[in-house]
Symmetry: C2
Subunit: 469 residues, 2 copies
């Protein structure tokens, strides 16, 4: 594992805060080692840094009470959802109190006429979509994991549907947030647009719990499309596939999903999901619209794919076939893990301008090969975003070092191509040096905002920004 830096602990404050919280929360607070470690864990190779206690609030008022107590004693507060973040977002490098939001799982109001919904942060995206289905509505953001909507807002998540429906920044209308001093604010009203002052909604989205704890979320919804059609198409090279992606975007096809699997990922999918796809780079696509519209979209795409040597194109409006294909896509993490049983999977997450995608993906494959690393690629390529899942034997120090070199090289490459070191996973602990490289002087003003809103640095310390001192 990669050792995370510990920060100075306020032992006396932590002890005092736990005492006060135990009075108020009783069994709603837990301090057992197993539960603490579970809450200091994310899907990452960064070492576990457990909080000192985990509280399970059931209301905004309880969250505010926890924050007020922690503010009084200068103790870290770390919000926690499903624990599916990837960059050490919920580690507790200075200890403190983890606030597990999963008991705040109520869908508070559906405004079908306005295409919006108000939820508590512990509602998961699958829970929400199951609830909405009867009303002909859905929430499009799909990061893969069945994450909590609070966590998705906090990390500015996106995923397969973002090419059409945007990311969390585009789909959160308003937030209720508990600030560092325990004050509860609303960042916006429910109107679809507004020019009313600073955009606190967007500032909170992606702030990873470092500026406030999200306790309520108003989300934009979509009507379930009249028709959905999916397609797959194989290409001889990643370069051809990426060029087809670029042309599809330029052509303005309102594509709902456009995912790339490289040859190694396709082989893994064949094996894991019992498919028999040609083991060459593959695009998976989905079209949303009217019956005529999705047919037209899929035909236009087929014509574009043909120009770039696309072959074995299959399109279907059958829900069953579509689900099989997308299930395989969603299972890619597990499929890739089977390539090398026992290895640790470390996911990279760069996003580049689409004109640089072919270059970036190609160079990434070459670099992994040069370093002798096993690193299949999948990606939300309609947005220029892709993940290389580096499969690392953690017992092999040389390989760990090579994986480190690869990740660092890839982040630098993306930044040099006017891209970002994180399309959707966030900064957490792991990507803090790259944020500095990517945005330079701008991070000083991020730090100023952090200091203004959380002067005692109690909200999820050690994340996003460089440590002080």
């Amino acid at each position: 594992m990669v050792q995370a830096t510990a920060l100075p602990r306020n032992e006396a404050g932590i002890e005092a805060a736990i005492g006060v919280l135990r009075q108020q929360f009783g069994d709603q607070m837990q301090t057992g080692q197993a539960i603490r470690e579970q809450h200091g864990h994310t899907t990452t190779w960064i070492t576990n840094q457990a909080p000192d206690a985990v509280v399970f609030p059931t209301s905004t008022a309880e969250v505010a009470d926890i924050v007020k107590t922690c503010a009084e004693y200068g103790v870290p507060v770390i919000p926690f959802g499903t624990g599916t973040s990837l960059e050490g977002h919920v580690n507790a490098p200075a200890g403190g109190i983890c606030v597990d939001m999963m008991r705040m799982d109520q869908i508070l109001a559906v405004h079908a006429e306005d295409l919006d919904v108000v939820v508590q942060p512990g509602v998961t995206r699958e829970q929400l979509n199951t609830f909405l289905r009867d009303q002909g509505l859905f929430f499009p953001i799909d990061p893969g994991a069945n994450a909590s909507l609070g966590g998705m807002a906090a990390t500015r998540a996106s995923g397969t549907n973002a090419v059409r429906y945007g990311t969390m920044k585009d789909n959160v209308l308003a937030l209720e947030v508990v600030m560092a001093d325990g004050e509860v604010i609303r960042t916006a009203q429910r109107a679809k647009k507004s020019s009313a002052g600073y955009d606190l909604t967007r500032l909170m989205v992606g702030s990873e719990g470092t500026l406030g704890l999200i306790t309520e979320i108003t989300l934009r919804l979509q009507g379930i499309p009249e028709a959905i059609r999916s397609a797959r198409c194989s290409f001889r090279t990643v370069d051809d596939a990426c060029r087809a992606v670029m042309m599809t975007i330029q052509y303005g096809i309102p594509i709902a999903r456009m995912e790339l699997l490289d040859e190694m990922s396709v082989a893994a999918a064949n094996s894991y999901s019992k498919l028999s796809l040609p083991e060459t780079p593959l695009l998976l696509l989905e079209f949303h619209g009217s019956d005529a519209g999705v047919l037209e979209q899929s035909e236009t795409f087929a014509a574009i794919a043909d120009e770039f040597g696309g072959f074995d194109i299959e399109a279907t409006s059958s829900a069953e076939e579509r689900n099989k294909l997308w299930q395989a896509r969603h299972d890619m993490y597990w499929a890739c893990m089977q390539i090398r049983p026992g290895a640790k999977g470390i996911s990279t997450d760069v996003c580049v301008p689409i004109s640089k995608l072919a270059e970036c993906v190609g160079a990434t494959q070459q670099k992994a090969e040069d370093l002798g690393l096993v690193a299949p690629i999948v990606g939300h390529v309609g947005d220029g975003n892709f993940h290389s899942l580096v499969l690392v034997d953690m017992e092999n120090a040389e390989e760990r070092q090579k994986a480190d070199e690869f990740i660092s090289w890839l982040n630098d490459l993306a930044i040099s191509l006017d891209g970002t070191c994180t399309g959707e996973h966030g900064i957490g602990q792991g990507k803090r040096p790259y944020l500095q490289k990517e945005l330079g002087a701008a991070t000083r003003y991020m730090a100023a905002i952090k200091a203004a809103l959380d002067p005692d640095d109690i909200l999820n310390p050690g994340k996003i920004l460089a440590d002080k001192g």
Copy 2:
């Protein structure tokens, strides 16, 4: 006119700063009364508050130099574009230096493959679209006025196309900004999405020059649609029209524009633009897509309109007829002004959840009638946003007072309906009390951010937030 509050002036600092800037900028700085008053003026009934000097920089480095000098002497800096804002955004209540960005009018780079463009802040939207036309691209945000893109970013502008393409918040990819200390930052890279740290891009969009001066803007572009079809449809009542809007949005038609004119506005358009529309509430629509797609959209809309008693539906794919209709829409301000020559037109700008639109528009018409005010309504109703243009005889104190009462009542009504006091015009000087009503405690944290990024309050003071003290 409504008297704007003056703020304390730093006379010695202003004099010193002007001395230094004159050395550096020579003829690029002007202090004549006419030019100063022109830069203290916006389309508003708030009194003119002229700056002490106007500087016309031609580069980011020059903007940074101006800000550094003003920072050194503690002097206000007010960025200026086309002067088409509506809420006293560019007034200089404490005097200071106006920075006229209109000589920074270069289109720096078009990335056609990535569907983005990099522009200086003085580029206007019409200039940009004229430049892009040959490449089959366009920038969709259209606030009516031929505003500068810097100003549009600073006020989070939107307009007729926002229902499909979003507002400036959705269409700015990255900014270069001169901060209050003269440092130049970039808020993001050119990737289409990112989770890299706090969203400074969205924080700057809509900050009205109070957090930094925008010196470069990377904007998302769209391909010019294969087909464009427009339509108009008359309704017996505003309520019927609004219900048709609601159903169209719920139905998920990817409508590009959906504008309401109430009966008074239609009469004004007939007179000004030589049309012969039925003088009842009217919806104007535009559909973007493929040939088959726009036909399907317009037919689906027609079926919906029919349910709500829509009549005299006309749809066309002729560019000439379409342009005539939208020219009439764009001329509505002038058309309405002709209803009452000599009156001052004061534009309101509320935006409510679409389920509240019919109620809000209906109540607004009734209230104007009750107060004896002439106040035609136009609106970007697909977003729930509408403007009542109150035509006020400024010589009549009682009428001015009634207009004031009307505006206040309407902002309160919108807020009570979970809407906003400004869908797209911004807060400026005029709406500061309503921002407090709308977002309450949240404005304290906006003030904390302002204090963190501009500790000496030199950037466009007296805007958005309440005056100190």
